[in-house]
């Protein structure tokens, strides 16, 4: 206090004009603020700010945050000047604003993507590269920019867009769909041979000779089944499936030629005593050349039959 008393007078004197100027400034600013507030209240009473449709989310957030700041600063002021916070009105207001902000947060999350995109567009001035909106259709690009007169005529007559496009274009281009990417055919003779050998091996593995050998050497108990030739069982299963379908759906399905052939072969196979004396060819596993019994049909090699000019079906290439 003593130190203040002596040195403080000089400080006070130097500070005095500044303080006066500041106070005057303060007074002017307060007057300006009151004037503005009075104008605002008049405007609000004159209903220049319509709020029937509610405020937008961003405006609400803005206002709430500002109010939060104001209340917080009010509280800090009170606390700094030694007041207590118990039952302070500002605390209740703060709590209310906080709850509202937290309730708004999920809405905010939902809008986050759109707002970010808008901000980015506003900042950079164009859409980003990965934006799917870039790929929306532009019908204006489809019209040719040749003759504007024709376009005007079309607009007057009010014809459909397709007609307009045709007459506006100089030459109508027929739409050619893009061809699929052709894949390189790489199969050499050796690979074909390998594939054939593999298939023959698989067939040989399931032949009766090999199966009996397997049964002989495996430890599993011997199963006695009323087993017919696997082709026959497969065909009979398919037949059963077809019959079930037909009866439950109350329709009759048509039988293709292939199906008919398969059925006939299955019948023939089950009626002959074919499997008693003829064993399937297991040369693929033993490595010998394939040989046939005398009364079996020779293995037919698939020849490419050139299809003579199909007049009705298909598309004939015009050379």
């Amino acid at each position: 206090l003593l130190a203040r008393g002596k040195g403080g007078d000089e400080v006070l004197e130097s500070d005095l004009p500044r303080a006066v100027a500041l106070l005057k400034n303060l007074q002017e600013q307060v007057m300006a603020v009151t004037a503005q507030i009075q104008a605002l209240t008049k405007k609000v009473q004159a209903r220049t700010y319509p709020t029937e449709k509610g405020l937008s989310l961003l405006e609400v957030k803005d206002q709430l945050l500002l109010m939060y700041l104001m209340d917080l600063s009010h509280l800090i002021l009170d606390k700094a000047s030694g007041g207590s916070l118990q039952g302070h009105a500002a605390v209740l207001r703060l709590v209310e604003i906080r709850t509202v902000l937290e309730k708004i947060r999920p809405l905010d999350q939902k809008l986050k993507y759109q707002i970010d995109k808008l901000v980015k567009t506003a900042v950079t001035g164009s859409l980003s590269e990965n934006d799917p909106l870039r790929f929306k259709p532009h019908p204006s690009n489809m019209m040719s920019k040749l003759s504007s007169e024709d376009e005007e005529d079309e607009a007057e007559e009010g014809q459909s867009g397709a007609a307009g496009k045709k007459s506006a274009n100089g030459a109508v281009k027929k739409y050619v769909p893009p061809r699929l990417v052709p894949v390189h055919y790489d199969e050499t003779e050796a690979e074909r041979e390998k594939k054939r050998l593999e298939r023959a091996k698989r067939r040989a593995l399931s032949s009766s000779v090999i199966r009996e050998l397997k049964e002989q050497y495996s430890d599993a108990p011997e199963e006695i089944r009323d087993a017919r030739h696997p082709h026959v069982t497969r065909q009979s299963q398919e037949d059963q499936h077809r019959i079930n379908y037909e009866e439950s759906m109350m329709v009759r399905l048509s039988v293709s030629k292939r199906e008919k052939g398969r059925r006939k072969r299955a019948n023939v196979m089950s009626s002959q005593l074919h499997s008693l004396t003829h064993f399937s060819d297991i040369s693929a596993l033993t490595g010998e050349t394939p040989h046939l019994d005398e009364d079996q049909n020779p293995i037919k090699k698939r020849k490419k039959i050139p299809k003579k000019g199909r007049k009705k079906k298909g598309f004939r290439r015009r050379r």
């Binding site: 009866e247 439950s248 109350m250």
Partner: protein
């Protein structure tokens, strides 16, 4: 020898949405040819105490060796429902429906002639001599 007509009960359904009963029919006719559809309809009418005109049978397939035939049948609640719900080709078999006889070529030519004329003009006739 008498023919026996069995209705396979596991496939018997009362299809209320289309106002009918549908079933799978097994006809046993040993030593004879396949039973014609009219006879099966009458037999079915007797068993279900209906008139044969609301009964529609179709899809008869004779098993290998003869003697047994399997097919499908539908019994409608009334003839009106039958006309509404039954497919047209089956109604035509009973004479309840007549198909239009215009050939496809004629229809397409008429369509092409109509393309040249705009608006609700009266008759785009059979103008075969168009000049």
């Amino acid at each position: 020898y008498r023919d026996v007509l069995t209705v396979i009960f596991s496939y018997f359904k009362a299809f209320r949405l289309l106002q009918r009963k549908q079933m799978v029919i097994d006809v046993l006719h040993p030593g004879k040819a396949t039973v014609p559809k009219t006879e099966t309809r009458e037999k079915l009418a007797k068993t279900y105490k209906n008139t044969p005109d609301v009964i529609f049978v179709f899809g008869f397939r004779t098993h290998f060796g003869g003697g047994k035939t399997t097919g499908f049948g539908m019994i409608y609640d009334s003839l009106d429902y039958a006309k509404k719900n039954e497919p047209k080709h089956r109604l035509a078999r009973h004479g309840l429906y007549e198909k239009t006889k215009t050939s496809r070529k004629q229809r397409e030519e008429r369509k092409n002639r109509m393309k040249k004329v705009r608006g609700a003009k009266a008759n785009v006739g059979a103008g075969q001599k168009e000049e």
